[in-house]
């Protein structure tokens, strides 16, 4: 049973030569089999949390700790974190011209699994996962994220997640820019992985829309770089009805 523990995490970012504090003491525990939703207004720092855990060089961890099954994540490079079992599905996946999806997937799977997957079973595995996400087989021959629609990019992220089977998956605004069909396929992919009980999911979202498709066990309200409140699914319903204002006000008066 894997466990991700974030303790008193303070993170800053360099903007125009000035260091700006974004995370101000985040505490969070995500266990395999759990689905957490982090909700918050724009600029609250919720994406920064995901990128800090994944190790984006833009962010500086000032203090605090991140561990995965007790191992110090902050001491690992970005790729070591991934090989330790972390996965980040990005809001804006990056284009990699000239690198085909099939080459990319196989290279990633080889890195994560520590050996090249057997070709015959691999081809089948990729094809079946793509079918479940309603992705055309020709997709595999396209260059990574190049000319992909918003929905194709997000399905491609979920495809990778399902193939790489991470211990902890961070999904940054996986629902943004999706039409209803794409949202359904993406959610089904997330739910398939959640159902294995082997993966802890951290769903970062601005809207409650995706929570109609994915049932979170825990909901956290993220405001001004901290978790302002935590609760169950009912907290999301409350946010849907009354927004973030209540938490923003209490945040600023504190």
């Amino acid at each position: 049973m894997s466990i991700l523990e974030v303790r008193d995490l303070h993170v800053s970012v360099d903007a125009d030569g000035e260091s700006r504090q974004i995370l101000r003491g985040v505490d969070l525990t995500v266990k395999a089999g759990e689905t957490h939703a982090i909700m918050g207004p724009n600029g609250s720092g919720k994406s920064t949390l995901a990128y800090s855990i994944a190790g984006h060089p833009k962010y500086t961890v000032e203090s605090g700790s991140i561990t995965l099954d007790g191992a110090d994540v902050l001491a690992m490079s970005v790729d070591e974190r991934a090989r330790a079992g972390m996965f980040l599905a990005m809001q804006y996946p990056v284009e990699i011209p000239g690198v085909s999806v099939s080459n990319f997937l196989r290279t990633a799977a080889t890195a994560i699994r520590g050996e090249a997957p057997k070709l015959r079973t691999w081809v089948k595995e990729v094809r079946e996962t793509m079918e479940q996400l309603a992705m055309d087989p020709s997709f595999a021959e396209r260059n990574v994220n190049e000319g992909f629609s918003g929905g194709e990019k997000k399905r491609h992220e979920i495809l990778q997640m399902e193939l790489l089977k991470p211990k902890i998956a961070l999904l940054d605004e996986i629902d943004s820019g999706l039409d209803v069909d794409a949202l359904r396929y993406v959610s089904e992919g997330v739910n398939r992985l959640a159902a294995t009980g082997e993966t802890g999911l951290l769903l970062i979202t601005h809207y409650t829309r995706i929570l109609k498709y994915i049932q979170p066990d825990f909901v956290h309200v993220f405001v001004d770089g901290v978790i302002a409140a935590s609760g169950g699914k009912d907290l999301a319903d409350e946010l849907e009805a009354s927004g973030y204002e209540k938490y923003q006000k209490s945040g600023s008066s504190a």
Binding site: D79, L88, M90, I96, A111, I112
Partner: protein, 379 residues
């Protein structure tokens, strides 16, 4: 004031007589990036002609090759050049090689024009005319290897409804100097795809141009260059939209690496002119340069001039930089180690152009060539 595309290209008057052009000093817009002192008399005309190249044409059925005088009607198919070096090349070439692809021919094998240099101490001049008759479909490879100082002009006339892919490969030895013009004239509803790959040579300066004979033409111009070890690689494109409803796409990618002793330099100029009559034009040009080391300089200048309000699309982009950190981060979050991620990104960068060639054997040779360059520099 900045000189516009129109000023420095369209106002030039063509001539077959080199004496009609002043000898450039290096201050002219057209020549300001070129190290003229390294051109060995190919521009001022002082170069002594030798027998430094052999030019052979291997072609399947449906193709004829002739050698005609430079004043022959077939030789002047694309009109007078607007550049001194081009005028000199035509003027001093022993003869003009005319390759004619018959109307309606569907070539299943490429036409190979092999240009092999064997002497870099004397100058060579060459003029090739490729006349693709209406509704033909052909792939042409111009394969340049060896040591030489050469100035050449390749003229490609794409007849109405014809579809042509022309790959020109500069796989020269390290001491070669090559000044080249590749002119394309695109007929009604015809298309041309040009892939220019420049890897070898000490100084290579190429001027690919596109003009349209009639509406409905399309041109895709791809380019790839890899400048290292003191090389100067220059590509100056000019697409002249003077008739309605034509399209152009220009995609050039370069990689550079240099050392303090041997800095390298690449130049990419993308001039696109949409004249008043060229309504419905759709054009986009892009240049990306990947700078792998210090001591490498990439100049990239897109120029887009539009004289009509009724275009379907017009845009350009240019970016020069080191590795894209976001690409590396993305790959690393998938467990791929930094070194391998860099390799993937660089090879992908080249592959995007190489995959346009469509000739497996040639593609494999170029992948191996690029691989050797990269390995040599530990990338």
């Amino acid at each position: 004031m900045t000189q516009t595309t129109h000023d420095h290209v369209a106002s030039l008057v063509g001539s077959f007589d080199p004496a009609d052009f002043v000898v450039p000093t290096g201050r002219e817009e057209q020549w300001r990036f070129t190290p003229l002192r390294r051109t060995g008399g190919l521009v001022d005309g002082t170069a002594v002609s030798g027998a430094g190249i052999s030019l052979t044409v291997e072609a399947p059925e449906g193709v004829t090759t002739q050698h005609v005088d430079s004043s022959d009607a077939q030789a002047v198919l694309l009109g007078a050049p607007t550049d001194r070096a081009a005028a000199l090349a035509i003027n001093r070439a022993e003869s003009t090689t005319v390759v004619t692809i018959a109307a309606d021919a569907q070539l299943d094998e490429p036409v190979w024009i092999k240009c092999v240099g064997s002497d870099a101490t004397t100058a060579a001049f060459a003029h090739v005319v490729i006349d693709v008759k209406p509704f033909a479909q052909a792939t042409i490879v111009i394969d340049r290897t060896g040591s030489t100082h050469i100035s050449d002009v390749v003229d490609v006339k794409v007849g109405d409804g014809a579809h042509v892919t022309i790959v020109s490969l500069q796989d020269w030895a390290a001491d070669t100097v090559h000044l080249g013009h590749q002119r394309h004239l695109v007929g009604r509803d015809a298309s041309v795809k040009s892939v220019i790959i420049t890897l070898g040579g000490s100084l290579v300066r190429l001027v690919p141009t596109v003009a349209y004979d009639a509406p409905g033409g399309s041109a895709e111009m791809f380019g790839l260059f890899f400048a290292g070890n003191g090389q100067h690689l220059e590509h100056r494109l000019f697409v002249d939209h003077a008739v309605p409803n034509c399209t152009s796409r220009v995609t050039y990618k370069g990689a550079l690496q240099g050392t303090e002793a041997q800095p390298s330099h690449s130049v990419w100029i993308g001039d696109v002119l949409i004249r008043a009559a060229a309504v419905g034009t759709d054009t986009y040009e892009i240049n990306r340069n990947l700078v792998l080391t210090d001591f490498a300089r990439a100049d990239s200048v897109p120029n887009l001039e539009i004289e009509t309000g009724e275009v379907a699309g017009a845009g350009h982009a240019s970016a020069t930089g080191r590795f894209d950190d976001e690409q590396l981060f993305y790959l690393q979050t998938r467990g791929i180690p930094a070194e391998e991620a860099r390799r993937l990104v660089v090879r992908g960068f080249f592959h995007e152009i190489l995959q346009q060639i469509g000739i497996e054997q040639l593609q494999a040779r170029l992948v191996a060539r690029v691989e050797a360059e990269l390995e040599g520099h530990g990338v």
